[in-house]
């Protein structure tokens, strides 16, 4: 993706543990860089207004909506996407909990939900249902009614406490 908007900017970042160098247009969004340049299409675009959260990734340890970040703002950053979540072919406990609790249907919001919860459960390992609901308020889902997403999150918290990673 080229686009106009001035000369190219060189950026360097770590994405899922691998160093990435690229020259990008100044106005390119991080979500487009991840999807269209790096081919990491697990991160989705569901709106143009930063409401839906489908593009959520972890940047320097915090969940961010990657549609609100220009690539140059991520220069030097450490990025984790859904593709980098499982290790050595073993699913992350959040992914396992979503699978076991039917926490996804069409799957489109799922990577963003999972990444938001990755950040949240790291900060709050023993949340209440209400806290989980608050945590995912910025991630919209149209299929599940959030019922099984909330159940998955509470289950994931238990699994992570049991030393299942995180």
């Amino acid at each position: 993706m080229e686009g106009d908007g001035g000369g190219l900017i060189e950026v360097t970042m770590r994405v899922n543990g691998r160093e990435v160098k690229a020259r990008v247009p100044p106005r390119m969004l991080l979500v487009h860089f991840l999807r269209d340049v790096l081919g990491l299409t697990g991160t989705h675009v569901g709106c143009d207004t930063s409401n839906c959260g489908a593009c959520t990734v972890i940047m320097n340890g915090k969940a961010v909506k990657s549609c609100t970040v220009y690539v140059f703002m991520a220069d030097g950053a450490d990025i984790l996407t859904v593709e980098g979540l499982s290790e050595d072919g073993k699913l992350h406990p959040i992914q396992e909990a979503f699978w076991d609790n039917h926490g996804l249907q069409c799957g489109f919001c799922t990577p963003g939900m999972v990444m938001t919860l990755y950040d949240f459960l790291g900060r709050n390992p023993d949340p209440t249902e209400e806290e989980v609901r608050e945590a995912i308020e910025g991630n919209l889902c149209r299929c599940t009614g959030y019922v099984n997403i909330v159940r998955s999150a509470l289950d994931a918290a238990q699994r992570m406490k049991g030393g299942g990673g995180g």
Partner: protein
Amino acid sequence: MAGERRYIGRRIKRKEDLRLLTGRGLYVDDIHLPGMVYAAFLRSAYAHARIKSIDTSRAEKLPGVLGVFTGEYFKDKVAPLMTAWALTNADLKPIKWPVVAYEKTRFTGDIVAVVVAEDPYTAYDALEAIEVEYEPLPVVVDVEEAVKPGAPQIHDEAPGNVAFHWKFRGGRDFEEVAAEADLVVKKRLINQRLIPAAMEPRAAVASYNPGTEELTVWVTSQNPHVHRLIMAGSLGIPEHKLRVIAPDVGGGFGSKIQVYPGEVIVARLAMDLGRPVKWVETRRENFLGTIHGRDHVDYVEVAAKKTGEVLGVRVRTLANMGAYLGTAAPGVPTILFGLMLAGPYKIKSVDVEVKGVLTNTTPVDAYRGAGRPEATYILERMLDVLARRLGMDPADVRRVNMIEEAPYEAVTGLLYDSGKYREVFEKALKLAEYYRWREVQSEERKRGRLIGVGIASYIEMSGLAPSRIARATGFGLGLWESVLIRVHPTGKVSVYTGSHPHGQGEETSFAQIVADALGVSIDDVEVVHGDTEQTPFGMGTYGSRTTPVGGSAVYKAAVRIREKARKIAAALLEAREEDIEFSEGRFYVKGSPEKSVTFQDVALAAYTAEKLPPDLEPGLEAVVFYDPENFTFPYGTHVAVVEVDPATFKVKILKYLAVDDAGVIINPLLAEGQVHGGVVQGIAQALYEYAVYDESGNLLTAGFNDYMIPTALDVPDVESHFVETPAPHNPIGAKGIGETGTIAATPAVVNAVLDALAHLGVEHIDMPLTPYNIWKALKESGVLAKLGKGR
């Protein structure tokens, strides 16, 4: 259903989840082809206007722009889109939807120009450089205005903006039963316009091979074969030269049934430009250009006895169809609505007339439930109004009217298939502790708390549909479903279904059906869908039809394979076919179980083909086109308990409980998921969502900032229970569970809120029951003072 159940009925986690959880799903926007270019659409600046001129010269000069294409370019190359549900006996007008507008635009989603550029950023830059001169025309967005004399005319073909006028009468004459009634309750009810807003925006990628003259289109579709058929017609290319692939689809809710201009445009341009072309709608475009749902004004009369017995229902509906008739649109506010107006009740007269009205708004078509939620809302709301007027408990009014047993021929002529309607009703009330909540309500009312309990009972025609009935209503094709099951030499099984699940989970539930029928491991069964080149012609996924219709096809095909396998096993075991028994994946000779072959042995023998009986062909596969002989009729009762904050008028749902009978449940884990999601979409209509147009036809709620899709904080936990009365007309006994929640939840919650306000004398408030709408209704009724608020 015959055979052993090792998988059916169990909470099997989904086979599709691994790819979706790890970011390896493949949605249309994930497709990247060499040489691909990007289309962007300029949509009309006015809801109704003449296009005087379009100047594309500045846009065309931008570096990276391959071309700008207007309606003049497309009008002779691409046929306009028309509805596929050409309703009979309804004076349906032939409304044409040009894929790119020329001469005139009719809503703000109409496309007036298309840019193709080397990258999407440039394409959107170029849109801004296109100059269109419009002559604005008078606009009408409201159905009651649109049918008045002198209203702006949207299509020449539809004088008075009426696209169709559908009438249905069932049972006794309404006037006659009204004369016998003790009271006739009349209401004007609004079923507001909703926006489906699947999380994945619609998208299309098209690639043309001039050597083979084959066009491949990846598109967000619930029914890829229907897309292929209609697109081939519009593009004027042979159907067998068009391959449509709907890969992973990120939710549809009816909004991805339709064939839209977008996919036709990119297909045509891919052929003309010789480059693959991609278009992904923006979320704003999704709100403007993808279909909307509901949008009725219903004038309702219910004739009843003092006992609560309902004698008849008369409904006059103005259904807002928007600016064009979508692919399935005419059938939604008519067949799927009018025929459901008897509900699960012994009503003696149904009299309904529906005018499909054109306005300068986004086309309205099937949105989850499609007609059935609108009908159920009318009945369930009116039963509560009736109960209030008669001083009865809403539960008792339902008891007076509910059907005792099935099969039952409703006054609409539909044959309700099977069910324990009253048992399910009582079970829901018991599980929800209905009468305990009534006590809580009256106690807490003394303390100023506003607690309400709402019930909704429903029945829906699902499992769409017997083809002869579909055709009789004017539907463009039959409504059967297809499958090809192929057993490979190793005994692994591929199931190529004509259904196209997009979140519902049939990659798993169909595998459960096949694994049980063939006695193989579910891990050895793969369900393939969405590609017209792989699957037989199929009708797709909508209307809760996938399990009852598609699943029945799958079951029948699996049985056919098992019967052929039995013949092969007999030959291998040198026994008579009738002496061969099948259990746990093994064929054995009756009485001597040690003489056996496995299903895998038989599969290999079908391909080595040396020991086949003389009349048997090699190979092991089966194709089935299953045409249901009746609809299925899921039904149930939902109970909602709510509290209205007397200071802010915000509604909180304290409890939500559903008891649904969807027949045999193949996978309770997935079925519950369908109920949860459906209920929350139903709650969303009751409390939050509504599309708003201004007088000029601008959609004010054109994104997530302004249109309130509920977040996790806005909705409750949902308790789902099932009663299983098998559907008698199909071999798997399933009725369909995709829409029950959406149908029941809306009236259950609205009834609960109005129940909370009952002592204040407010009988009805139109949806959504936002704090503002509740406050306004209380203020207009002069009852705010009763709450100690003189505002």
